[in-house]
Symmetry: C2
Subunit: 324 residues, 2 copies
């Protein structure tokens, strides 16, 4: 029986898709992989099927990207960078907006699988660990460590939380609020909260913690959260918000109440969204471009059957501006 | 020779893809179309090929969406709504970020065609009319009228420009600046400028017009634009900016110069981006959700071979807030 691509794949220990890419010189290919495939082809005396190859060549390289909310500036920017690097390597992007809906996330993964995407980048995390483990496709997650088998890319959340809290303490805040998305989801962003708690504990600073509901990203919820905070704790003199959007709501509400910033209240956000608008918002900048670039790289490395680092944690940066 | 799907398609006067969808009951199908196809099948005595149908059934419904910059809040929100309605009708989204790069836009359209997408929504406009006419796929454009053959969806730019300018005049501005993206591109957004000119002419109000370069969406450019404007025309007392992002830069720069808003300077933006941040920005709200919904609907109607209205112009709304 004639030797097929499947036999080559088995011999080399990678997927059929990967062999196909090598034969068609498509996408990210390491020299090591190319040598292995060449070697296997010679050993097995493989005669390529030109028709199959030309059909294969028509196959479009697609990566699936699932985000919770594309209209959130952080995800808008992240998607921009992921699209850029994916395109650079010859891959197109299939975008799914999960809106934190578990059913939609699951359905979308099925659709992506049926569409024969080469891999998936997960920026949305509603499913259980077992569900992610069951996805038989190259996978990279953002901001969440699911298992020892699925690589993830993140920025240094703990450091970011520490930098932000220390700054407020250094600026002599006596009662600091930490505002975040839900702390129940097992996301790496929770480490910002852990760092906050460590710092306020160490310095014996008074503090308050408030979280939005599980269905984060609803801007009206942010408004309500901030109002309640100020109603219940009018003596707060520092706020660390876990996103710039949340921080901007704090600035807005403070103005309404006649509190001056940074005079009466110091505010620090998180993300470092470029178009922060009219505010010179002090914030912790996430390296969004690098995160996008590395998410794509880790996925390509997996697709190429290469050893891929489990964790990629990128440094954050404190941007001290006008609100502290 | 056996009757094929192609024969049915010719008889009905639609594409093979459309017939395939009817046979597989996939996507948006009008009763009128279904009846036509049924009738043609009976007339021609068509015997469906089950293998071909099952292969066809595995085909994923995909719509291509090309935007200039997904990180721009307007396009982030638009994409969110397009994705939502596409998904609702069983279509997945392939996202392209053109960054206003003509070569990339052209390449992407080729890739989408090779991927056999069912249609394309164009939100990015760098190519010439002939190039768009040459795309042999269902097509809908946003904010640009390309020809009498390609449906477009827009909001009422002229009305929006008039509402904004009239408001500033009503608030007794004596020297008004209009700030916009490039006025060279033949976009419907240019009508905001036309309305502005009409109003300032009518009321004999002093005015200045400034435009960013062709490569809009670069936030540093906005900063420079606004600074130059205030340096050259410190007596400006009203600004109509053609995007909220631009308006926020104006607010920022005004603060830096110690100008109070709205006291010394009245500012109105455009778009009505939800997360305008800390500002109570007066703006002209575009019905972004409706635009997304109708862009998808128009594309589906085309795919179904139905008569599709050439122009869909949705109403805008003045949101009077704290900056005027």
């Amino acid at each position: 029986m004639a030797v097929t691509i499947k036999d080559i794949a088995e011999r080399v220990g990678v997927s059929v898709t990967t062999i196909s890419r090598v034969l068609n010189n498509r996408g990210y290919l390491s020299d090591k992989l190319k040598k292995k495939v060449q070697g296997a082809m010679e050993e097995l005396n493989y005669q390529p099927n030109e028709l199959a190859r030309s059909l294969s060549r028509k196959k479009s390289n697609v990566i699936g990207l699932i985000v919770p909310d594309i209209s959130h500036p952080f995800f808008g920017q992240l998607t921009k960078h992921i699209e850029y690097y994916a395109y650079k390597h010859g891959y197109k992007l299939m975008l799914c907006n999960s809106l934190l809906n578990k059913k939609k996330e699951k359905e979308y993964i099925e659709l992506l699988r049926a569409s024969q995407v080469d891999g998936i980048i997960m920026g949305s995390h509603t499913m259980k660990v077992e569900d992610y483990m069951a996805i038989k496709l190259p996978l990279v997650t953002l901001d969440r460590r699911i298992s020892d088998a699925i690589p993830y890319v993140s920025s240094d959340n703990y450091k970011g939380g520490a930098l932000a809290t220390k700054l407020l303490i250094r600026k002599r805040c006596r009662k600091i609020a930490y505002l975040s998305g839900s702390l129940q989801l097992n996301l790496l962003a929770k480490q910002r909260h852990d760092a906050f708690m460590e710092q306020v504990g160490r310095q014996s600073v008074d503090y308050v913690v408030r979280q939005t509901d599980l269905n984060g990203f609803k801007y009206k919820e942010y408004e309500a959260l901030v109002r309640e905070l100020f109603d219940e704790h009018p003596d707060i003199d520092g706020v660390f918000a876990s996103s710039d959007l949340l921080a901007l709501q704090v600035v807005r509400e403070s103005r309404r109440r006649g509190k001056s910033i940074p005079g009466d209240l110091k505010v620090i956000g998180y993300d470092g969204i470029q178009n922060g608008g009219a505010e010179e918002l002090t914030t912790i900048e996430q390296p969004i471009q690098e995160m996008g670039k590395l998410a794509v790289l880790r996925l390509l490395q997996q697709m190429a059957g290469e050893e891929t680092p489990l964790e990629t944690i990128l440094p954050v940066r404190l941007l001290e501006r006008g609100t502290t």
